[in-house]
């Protein structure tokens, strides 16, 4: 049986897709057969971040509608042969996503994958609700700003009331906080919320802090998940996240501004 992870937030542009690609790659690199599914029908970009956009033939909705088999639609990643991508449809309308259909695909995937990562669209509409409905674990991606924290809180309410686990009265979805696009300098100057501020409202188990980093954009332009860029802080932070999720104890990094005099003078930021 696979463990189903939803990467969710409520708000858009916070780093869900970046996170989904990174942790799916991290889990696969750690030796676990992993599938990552793009639930963002109409706005697919997971395949871009994973650099497989030119190999997309069939998509998630084709599989739901029985127009293609899972094996036909799954794309094997070029960097890691334990990672598979199920892309979203760019053309079909969102109504094609149904609870029954999604459930069927997840059931089938569960048979030979260890982890299934569901990249949720923004909002609290159908797509987002279906992405989380079957989840066992939730990575709540939050930026250190008030509106993002509010939306995450709202999402947590939905996780604890509208999921299959909630409906069946099973153990609740395990919820983790991922604080992303964290800029220690702007936190220090009070422009952004601190980890403490965020935790006062959300009080969740912190899986990691992902610093704001230019390497994220270069990685996504290159179609390689940032976790493979071992030199970048964001890549290291995601590696920590995966290790912690798999049970390893690692101290949290990248919380404090520690830029040297020259860095501050020239405003460079890696």
């Amino acid at each position: 049986m696979a463990r189903i992870i939803v990467v969710t937030s409520g708000k858009g542009g916070v780093g869900k897709t970046t996170t989904s690609a990174a942790i799916a790659m991290g889990l696969a690199k750690a030796g676990h057969k992993t599938a990552v599914i793009d639930f963002d029908v109409g706005l697919r970009n997971l395949d871009l971040i994973l650099g497989c956009e030119r190999r997309v033939v069939y998509d998630f909705i084709n599989v739901i509608n029985g127009e293609a088999s899972l094996n036909q639609a799954l794309i094997r990643d070029k960097n890691c042969n334990l990672l598979y991508i199920l892309p979203a449809s760019q053309t079909r309308d969102k109504d094609a996503l149904t609870e029954e259909g999604v459930g069927r695909v997840l059931d089938e995937l569960s048979k030979d994958f260890e982890y299934i990562v569901c990249d949720s669209p923004a909002g609290i509409e159908k797509g987002a609700n279906l992405a989380l409905y079957f989840a066992d674990d939730a990575f709540v991606v939050t930026n250190p700003e008030v509106s993002s924290v509010r939306d995450s809180d709202r999402m947590l309410g939905i996780l604890s009331s509208k999921s299959r686990r909630a409906e069946r009265n099973e153990d609740p979805i395990k919820e983790y906080l991922l604080l992303t696009r964290y800029d220690a300098d702007r936190v220090k100057s009070g422009e952004m919320l601190s980890l403490e501020d965020v935790q006062e409202i959300l009080s969740l188990e912190l899986l990691g802090i992902i610093p704001e980093s230019k390497s994220v954009l270069s990685a996504s332009n290159a179609g390689i998940p940032v976790i493979l860029d071992e030199k970048s802080e964001a890549g290291q932070a995601y590696a920590d996240v995966v290790a912690r999720y798999l049970g390893e104890k690692r101290p949290h990094r990248f919380i404090d501004a520690k830029h040297g005099f020259l860095r501050r003078l020239f405003g460079g930021r890696k």
Partner: protein
């Protein structure tokens, strides 16, 4: 086609609906008072079924057009699902509107919401939750307290028909309601309404008061009116001479 499963089945069950007791036939007064109640707990009243009780009104010999009241209630978002205590004319109107007629059983008087708002000569609208059941209702047993250990997040609503005890935080944008007392052994950032059926003796206790709104038996304060001194402190909140008192718990 062979089909062994039956097409349908009857089961006896209880259905909860608030009862609206009218003391006036003044439509403007009814609408205004209802709107005030709705503003206080919009989520609670949204799309709520409602039983219209005309006993008191008919005792006062005030004539009321049942079609008109039904239209008013539907317009502001209620679903009238029954009439009780209507006269012959009103029951006839109900029948044409396909609204069932409930025969009144003598039970304890429902409690009024917002005792504090009661003044002479002011029309009063009362709601109370009661069960409508085809069989005689079982004797009321005391309601157990509801215990909640998980955080109540923005957008979530909790309703307890007795006391409500919450061990975790209540987020901004969440709403907790109880017919009895409310205890929050954590931070209260959302809306808390105790004694929602008019129990003026109900109290709210919380560890860390940062609420958006607090209310007891319909009397309320919003965060704007909350005293800076009690903000972020452990407090108890109760009604005294129709005033909400917020007192720090030492």
């Amino acid at each position: 086609m062979l089909n062994t499963s039956p097409a349908l089945e009857f089961k006896s069950s209880t259905f909860f609906a608030p009862i609206l007791i009218l003391y006036t036939h003044d439509m403007v007064a009814i609408e205004q008072t209802l709107q005030e109640k709705i503003n206080l707990a919009p989520e609670f009243f949204r799309d709520s079924p409602l039983i219209i009780d005309l006993r008191e009104l008919n005792k006062l010999n005030q004539d009321l057009d049942f079609v008109q009241i039904t239209q008013l209630l539907r317009r502001i978002g209620f679903f009238p699902v029954g009439i009780r205590g209507g006269n012959e004319q009103q029951n006839k109107q109900a029948r044409t509107l396909s609204i069932p007629i409930d025969t009144v059983r003598e039970q304890g008087n429902p409690i009024t919401i917002g005792e504090a708002q009661k003044q002479e000569a002011v029309p009063e609208v009362t709601t109370a939750k009661e069960s409508i059941s085809p069989i005689a209702a079982p004797p009321q047993s005391p309601v157990a307290a509801t215990l909640i250990t998980q955080p109540i997040r923005s957008g979530q609503r909790i309703y307890a028909s007795g006391d409500l005890i919450i061990l975790s935080q209540v987020s901004a944008g969440a709403e907790i309601m109880a017919e009895g007392n409310i205890h929050v052994y954590n931070t209260l950032r959302g809306r808390a309404l105790a004694g929602v059926h008019g129990n003026t003796a109900a109290r709210i206790f919380c560890f860390d008061l940062q609420a958006e709104l607090i209310s007891i038996a319909g009397d309320y304060k919003t965060s704007e009116d909350l005293n800076k001194q009690t903000y972020k402190n452990p407090v108890q909140i109760y009604l005294q001479n129709h005033a909400l008192i917020i007192k720090e718990i030492a």
